[in-house]
């Protein structure tokens, strides 16, 4: 077959969010890969500047549909640092508990998606069924399945009762048992291993050079984890291992995520056992004093960074979000070098991408295609009328009618 360029996305069954990959193929072999983001820009950073800090907590929670708690915690930590708030210990423990439960739900979701991408739908059905257990626990603790709304500036909004912690412990046991079964599947099932091992290889040096984060980096034996390197919330008081792997491929990433699940269960047990007594929040001022802070957080997908600058008013002056996928997306082109088309979905899925969180683009530069220019409101209006007129749709009559009606 001669060379063809096939588009994957913005609408494609392999992708759960709109983004576009142009793949140059020769037969089944991938010659060139280029990614284009920007279909999902929602202007969240700007929206944050227009709202008060307390509203922003709920807005940042909606950056991601899966690691929602990560973004809101990251934002809240930055604001608390600027305002120099002493967050009660119990609040930190509850935050960490929800964070680890979220990691469990995210990694189980990933395993199912990975199974689906390699055509192993049975794994998808099984993991997503078991994921319901942790979703129910999250709904019981916070009232919601995805956007928990548990964070507030200065603490958390809901306390955890002894009955609830018993339920969580029970669910953790069930999940641990199921995860052991999935580890067995991932390490024993031949067709699955054939599709995962040796695919999407990212060497240790490349992972560091391209700035990979999270499980993607740890599977290339880059020993990096914010939870241990720069402890936040209650992580400083927990005992856990940072899981790394030297397979450097999708199989390694699977093992890292499964290992992290097991670590998460042990962390949840420690949190429940050592949960201190006390208040769950301190009162935060409505106006945050001037200052700036960078906050780091180990989301299920990797390191999440928020930058917040305040000017002493009740609204932040600038909020900047760097989602983990932005750090990882560059590695995909490297992983796909000389691979086959069939490996494309699983290699993209292996970084656990979340494109909606990543989209911070406002201008797309295409070299040599068009010049960037600033358009005023009137220009834009004329441009749209011209655009429709070119296609044989004329609003002139309608416009007159509208003006008459308005008069």
């Amino acid at each position: 077959m001669h060379k063809v360029i096939i588009p994957v996305g913005p609408q494609h069954p392999a992708l759960k969010e709109p983004e576009n990959f142009m793949i140059t193929l020769s037969g089944e072999k991938i010659l060139k890969f280029s990614a284009r983001l920007g279909y999902n820009h929602r202007g969240i950073e700007k929206a944050c500047e227009e709202r008060t800090y307390i509203q922003d907590v709920y807005l940042t929670e909606r950056i991601c549909g899966i690691c929602s708690h990560s973004h809101s915690t990251c934002f809240v930590q930055a604001v608390e640092e600027i305002a120099a708030l002493e967050v009660p210990k119990r609040a930190l423990y509850i935050r960490t508990l929800v964070a680890e439960l979220e990691r469990v739900h995210s990694h189980l979701l990933w395993l199912g998606v990975a199974g689906h991408e390699v055509g192993f739908d049975t794994l998808l059905m099984y993991t997503w069924r078991d994921r319901e257990v942790v979703m129910d626990i999250l709904a019981m603790l916070t009232g919601n399945r995805v956007n928990y709304g548990i964070n507030t500036i200065g603490g958390v909004r809901r306390d955890i009762t002894p009955e609830q912690s018993k339920e969580v412990a029970k669910a953790t046991n069930t999940l641990e048992e199921r995860t052991k079964y999935y580890i067995q599947i991932a390490t024993k099932e031949t067709t699955l291993i054939k599709r995962l091992s040796g695919v999407g290889v990212l060497s240790h040096d490349d992972a560091i050079r391209l700035g990979a984060v999270g499980p993607t980096a740890r599977a290339s034996s880059v020993d990096r984890d914010v939870r241990r390197d720069d402890p936040y919330a209650a992580y400083g008081e927990l005992k856990f291992k940072v899981i790394t792997d030297n397979h450097n491929d999708v199989y390694g990433r699977t093992l890292v995520r499964m290992g992290e699940l097991m670590e998460s269960y042990s962390m949840i047990r420690q949190l429940l056992k050592n949960m201190p007594e006390g208040p769950i929040a301190v009162k935060a001022p409505r106006k945050i004093p001037a200052g700036e802070a960078v906050s780091r957080y180990e989301a299920p997908r990797g390191e999440d960074v928020h930058y917040v600058k305040s000017n002493g008013s009740e609204k932040p002056e600038r909020v900047k979000v760097r989602a983990p996928t932005l750090a990882n997306i560059q590695t995909v082109a490297k992983m796909l070098e000389d691979r086959q088309l069939a490996d494309l979905p699983i290699v993209i899925a292996a970084i656990d991408p979340c494109f909606s969180c990543t989209d911070r683009l406002t201008v797309i530069k295409e070299a040599g295609v068009r010049k960037n220019k600033v358009m005023s409101w009137e220009d834009l209006h004329d441009y749209s009328i011209g655009w429709y007129r070119e296609r044989g749709i004329d609003f002139a009559g309608l416009n007159k009618k509208l003006t008459r009606m308005l008069k």
């Binding site: 096939i6 089944e28 991408e117 390699v118 055509g119 192993f120 067709t191």
Partner: protein, 313 residues
Amino acid sequence: MLIALFNILIFPGFIFLTLFGWIAEYIDRKLCARLQNRMGPPWFQPFADFVKLVSKEEIIPEEANPTMFKLMPVLALTATVTAFFYIPLWGKSALFAFNGDLIVVLYLLTIPTLTYFLGGWYSTSLYSKIGAVRSLTQLFAYEVPLLLSILAPALLANTWSLSEMAAFYGTHHWYWLFNLLGFAISIIALLGKLEKVPFDIPEAETEIVAGTFTEYSGRLLGLFRLSIDIEAIVGSALLAAVFMPFGLGLPPVVGFALFILKVLFIICLLSILRTVFARLRIDQMMTFCWKYVSPFAFLQLLINLVLKGIIVK
């Protein structure tokens, strides 16, 4: 004349095959769903799907060749239905039989794959073209083991006719036990032929949307899906006739029930297999078929050659 028409159109022809195909699809989907811990569809789902597709608009791509695009589903359907007439069902003889009908059945069962290729190629979409090339590549991988594994029992029976094979195994009751290895191989090959997991490479949805069928819609897609259902029945019936030739020549009702059971057994086997595996890559599938499946098919052939020299004289 009237009886021939009845045979072709109603029983055991088109209508019977359609109904049985839908029932088999339902059983396949329900079993797969239960194995995956899902509810699965209601019993009339395949029929409802067909009615929905038939009542929908047909969209033919501007660039596509309309004649070829429309012809392919019909060709696939007729080829599979025709193949069914040469397979002995519960009697010792098929509806039509001549010496060499074994090859004709295998040939007719190859036509659907060719129509997937041509249909995909003529719809000119990139996804369809890649799917089309993949289905043809896959054909070369599974067709050889399938032919070899079906040839082995024929060799033992010393005939090229399916009906004569049935007659041979009818008189030599336990000889079918020699062909169990061939049965396993032909089940694997049938998975490839029906494009099911782990060999659903030509229609891998996460890579190339729906492969060959990406551009097909409405009635044409309905016919394609019907022909896949019927192909599953015909393929299973062929395997049942060749590898499970016991209980032939029973009274009609009991024999018919046994035939249905045999076919459903193979359908269930296929759907269990498609539940427990991940999809292979096309190169892995080629290696698997040529490195492991084909040699075992040759081994079966060798076993039957030796047996023929020793026992059957």
